[in-house]
């Protein structure tokens, strides 16, 4: 039974999806998604324990051994992603019941849960697979389900956001497919470990360079790295709140995981960061993302758009860590992936509660909400300080780690951009505080009681981010182990 865990955690949500769509009952669909997410989280915890004690776990799907068959590989590098994705999905499941009931037409709710199950299956699939083509298939499962989810938003602009994301996202996914095809053309294998072995002797092959570029550009679209970020603000801001929470916390992070997997274990760090100038390009794009993302966030008039632009800036911090290609840099990037996922999920969840109680996230409509809803306001402020990187929060820990890693390599310009970005973060978080606390409450609102499930989900995420700030041993040890695993078998 425990031997089947790697495939079980992907299968649970994958089987949940058609059941949700067939049952047509809101409660049953919600329960199925909750159980699938909880089951995946349970599998992830058990797998993490087994990896810690017994090392890398390999599972041959259908009994066909690699490199012929598809292989699932669980190691120190993907266990944090599995834990993060399934934990956030569980929290979203708790959060979503009341939130979706308020924001989505009743007859569509079971279909939303079916798509949520598919997104979860796709993300976990990308994380566990050891086969390059299989990674593309899971990437498309995740993406197609997320286009449908974004289109479920209340306003008609959500449809346009979903369509634009579909066009850009599909082009990105096809770029990944071309890259994998080129890598297959030069090696004749699709298994990641096998690819890594055969590509080692092929440096200098132009088809291989093209493969690296295609895969990286394709994944950069999914990650929303700076010049390819245009789909993100509309998509996150217009999606139903529960969907924003899940996608903002995990979708781009899984793409980052896939990028790291391809960069370090498939193509090897020597090729990507030594022979090709990906590191320098990454650092430049990271600086632009930090500065422009944060600056644009300062001028937004809607809380969800503000948070989405801040996500683009935060992706910049993560890319900066990756572009160093050192153990410290990758570890800091990984730590920021975990911390930012928790922090941003808390903020989008709080925005969801505001949608439910005030019917809007426009900053003008939020005037004085802090005086009427002090607890929600407190959650926003604590998580917002995490975005800035103020000491007792998780954001401080990962930014500190990133700053140390940058100093180690003498990357002063990137460090300076990071500081400016953090100051700008203080400005946009300050705007929320100014609007929420210092402005007179202007409108008469129906103050219905907040649902316990949503408040519990928000405070769980907020307290988790504070806990990771006070006692960062758990995320740090996961990130360090991941970086060590990544740089030991991929490069040097």
């Amino acid at each position: 039974m425990t031997g089947q865990l790697p495939v079980l955690q992907v299968l649970l949500p994958l089987l949940g999806a058609p059941l949700c769509a067939l049952l047509r009952s809101r409660v049953a669909a919600w329960l199925l998604f909750l159980l699938a997410a909880l089951g995946s989280f349970g599998c992830a915890v058990l797998l993490a324990q087994r990896v810690a004690t017994a090392g890398t776990q390999r599972y041959s799907v259908g009994g066909w051994t690699a490199p012929v068959g598809i292989e699932f590989v669980i190691d120190d590098f993907n266990t944090p992603v599995l834990l993060l994705v399934s934990l956030i999905a569980t929290v979203v499941a708790v959060f979503s019941r009341r939130s979706l009931a308020a924001e989505v037409a009743a007859k569509r709710v079971p279909l939303v849960y079916a798509c949520l199950c598919l997104v979860l299956a796709g993300m976990l699939g990308i994380a566990v697979t050891g086969d390059a083509f299989n990674a593309f298939v899971f990437l498309e499962i995740m993406s197609l389900a997320s286009y449908a989810l974004i289109a479920m938003g209340r306003r008609r602009r959500a449809l346009l956001a979903a369509f634009r994301y579909l066009v850009v996202g599909s082009v990105g996914a096809v770029f990944v497919l071309i890259g994998i095809g080129l890598a297959y053309a030069v090696t004749g294998t699709l298994n990641m470990a096998d690819l890594a072995q055969r590509l080692g002797g092929l440096h200098g092959n132009r088809a291989l360079y093209a493969a690296v570029v295609f895969v990286f550009i394709g994944l950069a679209v999914k990650m929303a790295v700076f010049p390819l970020h245009a789909w993100l603000p509309d998509a996150y801001a217009q999606a139903p709140s529960a969907v924003s929470v899940l996608l903002s916390a995990t979708a781009t992070k899984v793409a980052i995981y896939a990028l790291l997997r391809f960069a370090f274990t498939v193509f090897s760090a020597t090729l990507v960061f030594g022979v090709m100038p990906i590191g320098r390009i990454g650092a430049l794009l990271a600086v632009l993302a930090m500065l422009i993302g944060s600056a644009v966030a300062c001028f937004q008039t809607d809380l969800k758009y503000l948070l989405a632009w801040s996500s683009i800036a935060q992706i910049g911090y993560i890319v900066a860590g990756i572009s160093l290609a050192t153990t410290a840099g990758v570890s800091a990037a990984y730590l920021h992936v975990i911390n930012h996922a928790v922090t941003k999920a808390a903020l989008f969840a709080a925005a969801g509660l505001l949608v439910l109680r005030l019917g809007s996230t426009r900053l003008d409509d939020l005037a004085g909400f802090g005086r009427r809803m002090p607890w929600t306001f407190a959650a926003v402020v604590v998580a917002g300080l995490g975005l800035v990187g103020v000491p007792p929060t998780a954001g401080f820990v990962s930014k500190w780690a990133l700053a140390t890693a940058l100093l180690e390599r003498g990357q002063w310009p990137v460090l300076a951009a990071m500081l400016v970005g953090s100051l700008l973060a203080l400005v946009y978080v300050g705007r929320i505080v100014e609007v929420g606390w210092f402005r007179e409450p202007s409108l008469v609102t129906v103050m219905n009681r907040p649902p316990v499930s949503m408040v519990a989900a928000i405070w769980f995420l907020v307290l988790l981010s504070v806990y990771f700030g006070l006692d960062p041993t758990l995320p740090s040890s996961l990130a360090d182990a991941a970086a060590a695993a990544l740089l030991s078998d991929g490069g040097e």
Partner: protein, 122 residues
């Protein structure tokens, strides 16, 4: 080089035509047509990878020694399904966009959106 690799030149030319259509056209249906063209070009690229000189279809028959490589063909079956699903979701979105905005032109949709930012999806 062009002589021996002309198939790749053709498939990549087709890809770029598809990508150009996606970028240059404002009509949502035309964008999807471009996207489909782009995807199909990649399918052709994979299929041409599997061609072995003098090989026949990969079905075991008497008197044949050389077969084309079947793996890229199988991979592309999966990718075709993904492409069909993408097109289906895209067209479904276009239908709902048309119902909500009454237009298929991106410029027109954006113009109508700025006049009524809180328009509800129909």
């Amino acid at each position: 080089m062009i002589g021996s690799h002309y198939v790749y030149w053709l498939t990549f030319a087709l890809m770029m035509i598809g990508l150009y259509v996606v970028i240059s056209h404002g009509n949502l249906i035309k964008k999807l047509i471009g996207l489909s063209l782009f995807q199909v070009a990649v399918f052709l690229f994979y299929i041409s990878l599997g061609k072995v000189d003098g090989g026949t279809a990969p079905i075991i028959t008497e008197g044949t020694q050389t077969y084309s490589h079947p793996l890229p063909h199988v991979l592309i079956l999966t990718a075709i399904v993904v492409g069909v699903a993408t097109l289906a979701v895209g067209l479904a979105l276009v239908v709902r966009l048309f119902e909500s905005y009454g237009s298929l032109e991106e410029d027109e949709i954006l113009r109508r959106d700025t006049t009524d930012r809180d328009g509800v999806a129909s």
